[in-house]
C-alpha cells in the first residue's frame, strides 16, 4: 500500500450548507474534527451554499456522517476509501512505473 496505508478508510465528502445555521455548525464541526479541507481552502470561507469538500480520517468520517444524518444535512461521498483509490491508480500503471 502506498503511504504505509495511512489513508485506509479515509473518505472525501461533499457538503453544501443550505443556510447560515448549517454553515456555522459545519464550520464548528470541521474545527473540532480537524478535517483536511479540500474546498474551499479555508474554513472561514464557508458560507451558505458554499461547496465544501472535506477529506476525513476513517474515525472522523464516522462522526461527521452521523452528525450529517442526524442534522439532515445533504451530503455526498465523493471518495469512499482514499487508500483504495490511491492503490488502484498505482496498480493500473505498468509494473515498472509503479511507485
Amino acid at each position: 500500500h502506498l503511504y504505509n496505508n495511512r489513508y485506509a478508510g479515509d473518505k472525501v465528502i461533499r457538503i453544501v450548507p443550505k443556510n447560515d445555521k448549517e454553515a456555522n455548525e459545519l464550520k464548528n464541526m470541521y474545527h473540532q474534527l480537524q478535517v483536511d479541507l479540500w474546498k474551499p481552502n479555508s474554513i472561514s470561507s464557508i458560507l451558505k451554499d458554499t461547496v465544501t469538500d472535506v477529506h476525513t480520517s476513517s474515525n472522523s468520517s464516522r462522526t461527521l456522517l452521523d452528525y450529517l444524518r442526524k442534522a439532515n444535512i445533504k451530503h455526498k461521498i465523493l471518495v469512499n476509501n482514499v487508500q483504495k483509490l490511491l492503490d488502484m491508480q498505482n496498480s493500473s500503471r505498468p509494473t515498472r512505473h509503479r511507485r
Binding site: 503511504y3 489513508y7 483536511d36 474546498k39 481552502n41 479555508s42 465523493l78
Partner: protein
Amino acid sequence: SLSRYNYEQYHSLDEIVRWMRHMNKTHANLVSMFSIGKSYEGRKLLVLKLGEKNASYKRAVWLDCGIHAREWIGPAFCQWFVKETINAYYNEPEFKKVLSLLDFYVMPVLNVDGYHYSWNTDRFWRKTRSKYRFNCYGVDANRNWKVNWCEEGASLNPCDSTYCGPSPESEPEVKAVAKFIYKRRKRIKAYMSFHAYAQMLLYPYSYQYDYIPNFKCVESAANKAVEAIRSAYGIRYRHGPASSTLYLSSGSSIDWAYNNGIPYSYAFELRDTGYYGFMLPDSLIKPTCAETMLAVKNITMHALKKC
C-alpha cells in the same frame, strides 16, 4: 529512458529534475535550464527557458506549476507544455515565429519541498515545508506574496492551511520567483500559474472585489481561452476575477504579478470538479493538458497583440 519520458504519468521530483536536465541537453537550441535560488530545505529552484536564442529584445511569458504541493496535475501540465512547445516549434510555422519573438519561462515545480513531501509522505500536503517558531510546518505559498499580505482569506495561524507566513516573501521559493519576475517585469507580458481543482480560469483581483483597469482585455482573453478549452473535449471552465469566481484571498501570486506591471495574469484551476479532486488519474492527464495547452497558446497570442 528519458527519450521515452511518459508525459501521461505523474513523476517524482527527482524524475522531473532529471527530465529537465535531459531537455536542456537535447534541445540546447531552444531550451536552457537555470536555478533561481534554493528552497527552504536546500533544493534548487529550477526554471526552463524556451525560445529561439537570438540577440534581440524578447518579450516573455512566465508559467509556474506546483505552488500547492498536492496539486500534481500542475507539474504534469508544465512538463506537457514544454514537450508540446518544442514539438510545435518544429511542426507549426506560426508557433515557430512566436518562439523567435518571445521566451517562455517554465517552472515545473515551484514548491519543491512540498511536492517531495507530498510524493513520499503526505499525499495531501499543501504548503511549503518551512518551520519557524511554532510547532506546525509550512506556509501557503499562494498567500505569501507581497500584495495586501495576510488580509482577507489568509491566516496568521501557522497550523492553518492558508497560513500567510511570518512576513511577506518569507518563503525562499516565493522570494526567488518574485525577484526573478520583478527584474524582468517589463519584458514579461503574461503570468500563468497552474493549480487544481475547480475547472476555472481566474484573474485579479483575489484580495478585493474591484475590477482591474484592463478588465476588458483580460476578460476577453480569458473568455477565448475557456472556449478553446471547451473545443477540445467539451469541458466547461468558469472564468472571472478570483475574488468573486472562487473566493477572497490575499497575498496571491496573480495579484502580485499584476500589481508589478504584468498585464495578463491568470491562475488556472485545472480538472476536475471533485470526482477525483487532487487524485486525478493518469488517464486524465492527457486530455487535461491538451485542452489547457490550447488556452495557454490563446492567451500568449493575445498578450502579444495590442489591446
